[in-house]
């Protein structure tokens, strides 16, 4: 499944100045265009408030857009009828940033992971026992065990919860996965495991990733292509190697310079010692 975002603009209405005065509109996305090829990993890097998450919400049609088109395999997402949209969403899933907030604390892991199967039952057509089997299979796939099935989210660590979020996203056999900062709430040691899991799943299942992060190291590790977004505009996009080794824009260069390198000798602060 390929995704094309063409000249998308999203404006949020600001507060009115005075009683009938004009609104200060905020342009969250300004003429954004990008194309993601099937089977690739596309990274989107930007700081907080740059429009990363707004773009994903527009792609999932959780927000309306003001102009432009978003095409999945040629179909315009924002023109689809409700039934078509639901079918599309079974092919397009998302893993959220915060594994503590995105799992319902009152549902068992089984119910959390099975929920997409219930919602999309008209396309997956599974009985309750088949769903349980599928959930068990998914848990094994993401490195959890079947005895975890009937536990609750609070019984899991952050890394395990993010695995549950990934299992939930994979439940309906999607082709395209949006990963919205999936590792930013995790320890580096756990982050490495989750990144490796994502890499392995991509190879096994032929998934296409849109990977959102503010961590350039993570993007470089997991992605083939990258786009840098700043204040709603794409400042640069291209192959990961090109962007990282030979950034064209000042903003990208600044971001790269600000990345703390774990080598003490490459610190700008290091006094000659």
């Amino acid at each position: 499944m390929s995704l094309a975002v063409e000249n998308v603009t999203k404006i949020f209405a600001g507060p009115r100045r005075g009683f009938l005065g004009p609104r200060d509109n905020f342009m969250a996305l300004d003429n954004v265009s990008l194309a993601i090829r099937k089977g690739g990993s596309f990274g989107l890097v930007g700081e907080s408030g740059s429009g990363k998450t707004t773009l994903t919400r527009c792609i999932l049609r959780l927000e309306t857009i003001d102009s432009g088109r978003i095409l999945f395999d040629g179909a315009d997402v924002h023109q689809l009828k409700p039934a078509e949209l639901r079918r599309l969403r079974s092919r397009l899933q998302i893993v959220f940033q915060d594994p503590y907030a995105s799992l319902d604390p009152r549902m068992t892991i089984h119910d959390i992971v099975a929920e997409p199967l219930v919602i999309h039952n008209d396309s997956v057509k599974m009985s309750a026992s088949e769903r349980t089997d599928r959930v068990a299979e998914l848990l094994l796939q993401v490195g959890l065990r079947t005895e975890h099935l009937f536990r609750y989210p609070h019984e899991f660590s952050g890394g395990q919860r993010q695995r549950i979020g990934i299992a939930r996203a994979l439940a309906v056999n999607p082709e395209f996965l949006i990963l919205d900062e999936p590792t930013s709430a995790l320890d580096v040691s756990v982050q490495a495991d989750v990144l490796n899991l994502l890499h392995r799943l991509q190879q096994q299942l032929g998934l296409t990733y849109l990977f959102i992060s503010h961590d350039l190291g993570v993007i470089r590790y997991i992605c083939d292509e990258v786009a840098v977004i700043y204040r709603g505009r794409l400042v640069e996009q291209g192959e990961v190697g090109d962007i990282f080794d030979n950034p064209q824009s000042d903003y990208t260069r600044m971001l790269l310079d600000a990345m703390p390198d774990p080598d003490p000798d490459r610190s700008p602060f290091r006094r000659s010692a």
């Binding site: 971001l255 774990p262 000798d265």
Partner: protein
């Protein structure tokens, strides 16, 4: 005499399931001019060590089983409450992780800064540059001037006007600067920064790190920087202590530890950070599971 000396610190915490031994014999010595990084995973005891230095762990549920903390000649664990109040804010400054929850949303930034400045001024009027018996009006004016000066110093543009803003009118990076200004206002000798940049963007992080670095160079203070980001440690710390399950596994000058780690855990931790040269699928996580005997 070192600025801060933690000797064989053992802490237990009580919960419904009984008492858990959390810190197992922490030893750490910080001299002036040193920036100590404390790294470790979630739950390794980094923050509890930091909080212990200014005795901010309530007892109970906490209980110190053994050990001592000496700060500039004071025995922190046995000092009276009044003595600790005089130390906190004035001699030991603290910065916490989340700048959004550590400022009170209903008070102006200036009011909150002034509180700290007045507190430090009562303990030592020379902080505000006023005489000991100054009238409260003079005192308050000096405190406000000091607050503006500190905001200016941490790089808030137009500080004299912004001081009357509320926290929500500041961005995340600016709020963190306000907290640093607050921590520095009493001219502390020791700054404890608990994940000061975790909630911030990398570009803002770089500015905050520069600020801390410059403060150390200028005032010759000691810093305990608690973080899980090895990159941050590599950038500004002079020394580093690696914590795991309530123990310090390895500590020393930052170059020795990060370049030539002697402990397997440090090596594993370093291998889990993605760098420019790591190939996909090559990173090694720790899986959160390590044998007890490891520590």
């Amino acid at each position: 005499m070192p600025l801060l000396e933690i000797r064989d610190l053992n802490l237990a915490m009580k919960s419904y399931e009984g008492e858990t031994h959390i810190l197992h014999g922490i030893n750490l010595t910080i001299e002036r001019g040193e920036i100590w990084g404390m790294v470790g995973e979630t739950g390794s005891g980094k923050s509890l060590t930091g909080l212990s230095v200014s005795r901010l762990i309530p007892t109970p549920p906490g209980r110190y089983l053994a050990g001592s903390i000496r700060f500039d000649g004071h025995d922190v664990l046995t000092a009276s409450d009044a003595e600790m109040r005089a130390l906190r804010g004035r001699h030991i400054g603290m910065i916490f992780q989340d700048p959004t929850t550590n400022l009170n949303p209903v008070f102006r930034v200036g009011t909150q800064l002034l509180d700290v400045a007045m507190h430090a001024g009562h303990a030592d009027p020379s902080v505000l540059g006023v005489a000991a018996g100054a009238s409260s009006r003079v005192f308050k004016r000096a405190a406000r001037e000091k607050a503006v000066e500190m905001l200016d110093k941490v790089g808030i543009p137009n500080a004299a006007a912004r001081i009357d803003d509320y926290p929500h009118q500041f961005s995340g990076g600016m709020r963190q600067r306000v907290l640093i200004a607050m921590a520095m206002i009493g001219k502390p000798d020791l700054l404890i920064a608990d994940e000061p940049t975790t909630a911030l963007d990398v570009s803002v992080q770089a500015q905050i790190l520069r600020l801390i670095h410059d403060l150390v160079a200028e005032r010759n203070i000691g810093v305990l920087l608690i973080t899980h980001n090895l990159g941050v440690v590599a950038q500004i710390c002079t020394h580093v202590a690696v914590m795991y399950r309530g123990r310090i596994l390895e500590s020393g000058p930052v170059r020795d530890v990060l370049k030539h780690p002697s402990h397997v855990y440090t090596k594993a931790l370093l291998n889990s950070v993605p760098t420019a040269h790591s190939k996909r699928g090559e990173l090694r996580g720790l899986g959160g599971i390590l044998p007890e005997s490891f520590a």
